[in-house]
Symmetry: C2
Subunit: 257 residues, 2 copies
């Protein structure tokens, strides 16, 4: 356990009580303007983009730690959050020039050795409602913002690999997890839900078949409202019927999409 302090322009971070060698990284997915987005941080010194992450306190489970980190980055509590893989290649962080550079040129952190160790990182993916998030950078970054999935370039360390794995997991679990419920606002149109599925799966779905199929699950409640201000016919709004949704997910939305 380390008990040192980082002095930053704005904050003081106590590096105490963190377990050594263990970190976590979060792939936070959001959906807006029919596009899948991921929450990223821009590192102060190198300008590299990175996934939000953190360390695990002595008395926390790794899930609690992930929730703590995401609360700091998004302002949200009770985020839908699942661990999906452990990244433990001995070379993934140890003596990594990006990290050393980042930390050392940051002039604030006296203890190189803590970061200069090997870290095993537990990957989480999170699904959040885009509009609810207020992105907040951490002590090592100057920007925290949503980046469109297709515009994401080279990330720090092995974060591209982590992101890739998260996406694969999301696709696999599309039929077993309440993906739509967590990513969309309370009220949404069937087209928006379909676009979400299309974006995650990376392929087009038949509008009419999707509609009938998703309605057949009986997990949506049709509202008496329509979406106004859009071109063409005003689409009906729906919301999730939580009770039926949970029941259906227990059995798995066994479709093939």
């Amino acid at each position: 356990m380390k008990t040192e302090t980082v002095n930053d322009e704005k904050k003081t971070i106590k590096m105490k009580n963190y377990l050594q060698h263990i970190s976590l990284d979060c792939v936070v997915f959001g959906f807006h303007s029919n596009q899948l987005k991921v929450l990223l941080l821009r590192m102060k010194n190198t300008g590299t983009w990175a996934l939000p992450g953190g360390f695990v306190c002595e008395d926390e489970s790794i899930e609690v730690a992930a929730n703590r980190v995401l609360k700091e980055r998004t302002g949200l509590d009770e985020i839908f959050l699942h661990q999906f893989n452990v990244f433990s290649d001995p070379q993934r962080s140890k003596h990594n020039p990006a990290v050393s550079d980042l930390i050392l040129s940051g002039q604030t952190y006296p203890e190189k050795s803590w970061f200069d160790k090997r870290f095993i990182s537990v990957g989480f993916y999170a699904l959040v409602e885009f509009s609810q998030v207020e992105p907040q950078p951490d002590a090592f970054s100057d920007i925290c913002e949503w980046i469109n999935l297709e515009n994401i370039g080279n990330l720090m360390l092995d974060h591209n690999h982590i992101l890739q794995k998260a996406l694969e997991t999301l696709r696999m679990q599309l039929t077993f997890q309440p993906i739509g419920y967590n990513l969309l606002p309370e009220k949404f149109t069937l087209s928006e839900l379909r676009k979400l599925y299309e974006t995650i799966l990376g392929k087009e779905l038949d509008r009419r078949n999707f509609q009938r199929k998703i309605l057949a699950y009986d997990i949506l409640t049709r509202l008496e409202e329509v979406r106004l201000g859009v071109a063409h016919k005003a689409p009906v709004l729906y919301k999730f019927n939580l009770e039926n949704y949970k029941r259906a997910l227990d059995e798995g939305l066994q479709g093939r999409w």
Copy 2:
């Protein structure tokens, strides 16, 4: 990093070069006499049964560590092995009386403190061919053997919980992973394959429909042999057609079973 030595009747274990706070546990599944079995160790001093596990060396990935541990316990290389969950409850191992008792009464290990820490454990599940395994206890156990799933009682620490999670994962992945290929001997009958599926899923399947469905995937090769020495009509033997199997698994054996 610790660099101490445990003297055991048969072996010497160097506790050096292990990452602190991180361990791994393996749920090794085998199938024999139409029953699903799990490889367990009986602890020398407490007599408690436990999952095979181990620690991670400084220069290993956690996957390499798991393979090393399983090589020691089963004699097998290149085992089908997947990580499925990280167990990190702060109370799961820290100051756990079972561990302290186990280690301290073992009279051999001078350093209580190393084990008396909190460990975050990565859970793996493995699928092996029953007959190929030669179970070997480790330094802390006197017996290593297959236990029928339904006969497994209270295990050490949170190992019942880990086992439970492994089973859930196995069921979920039944349609995406080459479960049959790894658990059955090279040649097998369709009944044996069906019994395996029934055991994992915990429910009966229609013999005739199972047969047609599994054959429709075109992943099995029908042999010119029959199983002799069994009562009643001699069943035809099959083996997996590896090429077609891998292709089919890429798409997922999208059945509902």
